[in-house]
Symmetry: C2
Subunit: 117 residues, 2 copies
Amino acid sequence: MLIRANAQSIGLKAKLFRGFSDPSRLSILDALLAGPLTVTEIVEATGLSQPNASNHLGCLRDCGLVVSAQQGRYVTYHLSDPRVALLLNSADELLADVARGVYQCTRYDLVGEPERP
Amino acid sequence: MLIRANAQSIGLKAKLFRGFSDPSRLSILDALLAGPLTVTEIVEATGLSQPNASNHLGCLRDCGLVVSAQQGRYVTYHLSDPRVALLLNSADELLADVARGVYQCTRYDLVGEPERP
DNA sequence: TCATTACATCACCACTTGTTGATATGATGA
DNA sequence: TCATCATATCAACAAGTGGTGATGTAATGA
């Protein structure tokens, strides 16, 4: 790829957005909007399996979106920066206008879908 | 999954962010920040192959992030909403602070990487 | 009509990624 | 020390996803 602009910056940004691009991770971030939670609380809040939640938390932590802190045998996670919440809100606002388009985005959801007229 | 909050909303948001989560698509959006471009111009600007660019453009269009307009035998694409650019800027600002963390996010990039001390 | 240009689609491959179940690690308390 | 709880890691699998080359389609102009 011969990407025009700053390739490193673009790669970083893609990686950042990838942290937001999975429903399980978004549900974790959503749960953390209210405040810090332990892994068990996150598992209960999201319905994810414990290893799965732990895996996604590791990803979010590695990407700098959340921060972990060990307290006894508990590990609590919280958002690393208020702008993580702001970015989620910005997405909500954008969605308010393009929701119809995104809702119709069947590119990766349906197979054999008939062509649009 | 027993996702706590509005599952549909979370799914939509994940789909929206997925549009931003690939370097090729980000480079296309980055090129479109300056204004509308034809597919050929996008191919030249990004270095992507023509079918690949067309595929990503189709994804971006289906997701409502860009809009296409046919003009003769050319098809020009432009950002669907100024907030797409704003969201990209918000990500840049967030990256300014968490860049170090994202830079170290080797979870999906390296295999057999030794553990951090 | 025919060649050419611009773009989209298809078939296929390789790699990435999310999920699960099993298991390891590590802290706490009896 | 031993049992238990909280969390992380591992192996393995299935599905999603990006990439390429070949081909189709539609518009333009000679």
